[in-house]
Subunit: 506 residues, 2 copies
């Protein structure tokens, strides 16, 4: 086991990566909130040492939609709350709710500085609700095997149950605070952003509006190209340097060939400082793929610390590492230099343990969700792609899920429940008050809503933006476009709340 | 057992009534579609002998929201279809879907003439979907005891599962017909109307609009007065005749007193032609109460045959029977004359069997729904009420449901899932394309949406209307206001569809 904290971090990332990608890249969770770097310290300062939040638990029902005996079982759902800035129930001051994603809610809270920074302006109460089956909100006791190894238990992990959890918890909280007239705005990034958008669509009587950041709600069935994710990664690297792109693109075959030679795996292990012997080159290619993809997702304009520390514009830095390695260096040395930026920017890691399977942020449930309802087709396309061609194959997913969980995916369920085809036309006549933010350097943006639908259904598209960069804590080095995005979001949310107060006074 | 068909009918009505009201009047299902009298013959004529519909079955999933092994169980869901008038997929001709209520779908289909009559105008395909656990759409085999006696089975009977059934079935049907661009309008009366409204709210990507007729979606928690239902019954009778109202109002004590005297029950049984000995006066008062309430609900302007045949304006006829009985007749003779209009208008019934428990329309599941999510507070109010004072008592419901099914109600679930408080304000900013029809003589209208919310969220209120009278087959004797209501509905639905085609062409 690694002994260094930074090593640990790098390892669980890899573990998560290898878990998700062991079969196909489509397993990648669209999570990964942006980091407010050193968030605990910075955010704690910003709330004047009153503490970032206090932890509460709500007795939640296991199954909202059925009435069999098992459905009445309850569990403790964690939520975090900060009332430092709240204007109070008597002033009908707003409540900002983060609709938790597929992991520990503390992690997301500490990485959503935007809510803390805008709370004083809005005099908002802040609430961060943990998603069922993640973090400390698990309905069944036991370790990961107990939780996810028994489909009779984990069968209650679903997006619709999670949304109903948020509905019941918010209503109860408002009642307890005598704040039934306080407007609620929901926030979320990635899967949390999907949940925020869906929550506004399904529970408009509870949420006045939603900021859905980098929410790929169209990454289902054939609504968008299955290649969009990998095509955007390709474009991210290629836009920095044609040579960089070519080195990575050409590396897959080179690694495979090297791995098949006598002593090749040992050589690869040494080249990339892998702690333990490689049993095949696949683990190494998965590890590298993770570096390129996660860096593309978090290609932020300022230094960040989302998974492990990264410099500003990390894709550019990776390509500089590749381009500047000089002609004397071989491909592996170039790749290592670039990957090292993602996995070891601090420079303290001595070797990488690809077999570590710790899960400190409690993300394991996503694999189950990717086997049931979150069927988000992804593949790597033809000649120009930075990754080897890899066609989306639904049957592979079915076989994997059957073997792993004994469960069958329901590939049409998400679009049945939440829509998708013609979403602009539908929402135009039946929706309102949603901001869809997307940064076009984010590989997930291909599945996002990129065009405004109406005056209150606004798509904000940032050409230079990455994965829910808008939700990150601001930085004095932020570029003007990012400041503008956040200001636009604040203005839109303000207009919703103003209109709400007007409607209430009628 | 009764030998006469009309007797049978009267008996199951009573059974249903007594089942529902055995504990409290709040158990009354808001069902009861209006009758298109002699519907089979009339409607069959209207579709030029091609048959009213053909019967199909869809393999439906038991639990849409969970992924445990039990959730994957399937059952055959019945739906009825008529394509006589359909303009076809290539013309994107509309699909009209009836969202089935708590009973046999054939019964509702035969009583929703409005859809058949408007289909030629719209070139619409007609589809009537049966609600799970009713009629021939029961997920578990066995008799009523097996179906409703085991909460592990009947636990899957819920409104949200039913709505998801409709969603999956409609999507699959459209796909099979290559009609994905055909707009869908949902229709429903009473509980079916609630489902139609909720379906448009929750699944706007599937239904372009909804005609929700006599849908008491606000009859939950404290959104409306719990007395509204009984107050409207009071008003219906009192508006016809003060004497009639007083006779009924005064009768409850008289019956109770009579029942307590030696030979009293026998006398009561004879007075009302009850077949078997009465064991208490309660059964008799329940039977009478049923006559007054159901007649108030179906106080239609033309003769009807909803449960048993009724004349036009039956409340008026009942009051005439009471008022014209003459001073020589005692109260019981007057009541009998009036009740006879509801239970025996054909005059062929020789005696009434209050112990018959047949359920020909498969309505038994409502009692379960009234014990889980359909907690619709009702009581009878003070001095002026036509019924004895009876305060709504939630604890009574809890005790009853616990004893009967071992199940606990979730009284806040419906408003959590579908909203309620400030519904106008909410829908104004997030909804569209719903017609809420209510007739103010309908006791259920107290729980309806009675004010228009926006240009496309229209409340149509007919002062002289009864329970979803608009959905009935037209009659040459229909009053002008009823013709106007139906024309307005057709015009509004036309405008939705026109706008849809315009949106689609953009």
């Amino acid at each position: 086991m690694a002994t260094d904290h930074l090593e640990q971090k790098a390892f669980w990332i890899f573990l998560f990566w290898s878990l998700c990608f062991s079969l196909t890249s489509a397993f990648l969770a669209p999570t990964f909130p942006s980091s407010a770097y050193r968030p605990q310290r910075r955010l704690a300062d910003s709330v004047q040492n009153t503490g970032l939040y206090r932890t509460e638990f709500y007795t939640q029902i296991l199954d909202h939609f059925d009435f069999n005996p098992q459905s009445y079982r309850t569990f403790q759902q964690r939520y975090l709350i900060n009332d430092t800035y709240w204007g109070g129930a008597s002033n009908k001051a707003p409540i900002f709710v983060y609709t938790g994603n597929e992991g520990d809610i503390e992690w997301f809270t500490q990485n959503t500085g935007f809510m803390f920074e805008t709370a004083p302006h809005f005099k908002a109460l802040l609430v961060f609700i943990e998603h069922r089956f993640y973090g400390n909100s698990t309905p069944f006791e036991g370790d990961r095997e107990v939780l996810f190894g028994n489909s009779s238990n984990v069968g209650y992990l679903s997006s619709t149950q999670a949304l109903a959890d948020y509905a019941t918890l918010i209503i109860d909280l408002k009642k307890n605070l005598s704040a039934t007239d306080s407007p609620v705005i929901v926030f979320g990034g990635s899967y949390g952003g999907m949940l925020a958008a869906w929550f506004r669509m399904k529970y408009p009587h509870i949420a006045l509006g939603a900021l859905a950041s980098s929410a790929p709600i169209l990454q289902f069935e054939d609504l968008v190209s299955p290649y969009s994710f990998n095509d955007i990664v390709t474009q991210d690297f290629r836009s920095e340097s044609e040579n960089c792109y070519k080195v990575i693109k050409g590396s897959w075959e080179e690694i495979q060939e090297a791995g098949q030679k006598p002593g090749g795996l040992e050589m690869l292990g040494k080249s990339f400082r892998i702690c333990k012997n490689l049993s095949s080159s696949d683990a190494l290619t998965g590890w590298l793929r993770g570096a390129w993809i996660f860096t593309a997702m978090t290609d932020y304009p300022t230094p960040s610390n989302f998974i492990s520390p990264l410099p500003a514009y990390p894709v550019k830095k990776m390509c500089e590492a590749i381009d500047n390695a000089g002609s004397g260096k071989d491909t592996f040395a170039k790749l290592y230099a670039a990957a090292n930026i993602f996995y070891n920017y601090s420079g303290t890691v001595t070797c990488f343990d690809l077999e570590d399977n710790s899960d400190p942020h409690g993300l394991a449930g996503w694999q189950w969700q990717a086997c049931t309802e979150m069927i988000m087709p992804q593949g790597a396309s033809g000649e120009d792609g930075i990754f080897p061609v890899n066609e989306w194959n639904y049957e592979d997913r079915v076989a994997y899920c059957s073997a792993t969980y004994g469960v069958e995916p329901r590939p049409h369920w998400i679009t049945t429940e939440f829509g998708g085809p013609g979403i602009e036309r539908v929402l135009k006549r039946s929706g309102g008050n949603i901001i869809f933010f997307n940064g076009l350097r984010d590989p997930w943006s291909g599945g996002g809503v990129l065009k405004s639908i109406s005056r209150s259904l606004v798509a904000i598209v940032a050409k230079q933006g990455a994965h829910h960069v808008d939700l990150r804590l601001s930085d004095k080095e932020d570029p003007q476009w990012l400041k503008d995005v956040r200001k636009q979001e604040v203005d839109i949310i303000s207009s919703w709340i103003s209109q709400y107060y007007q409607d209430l006074a009628l």
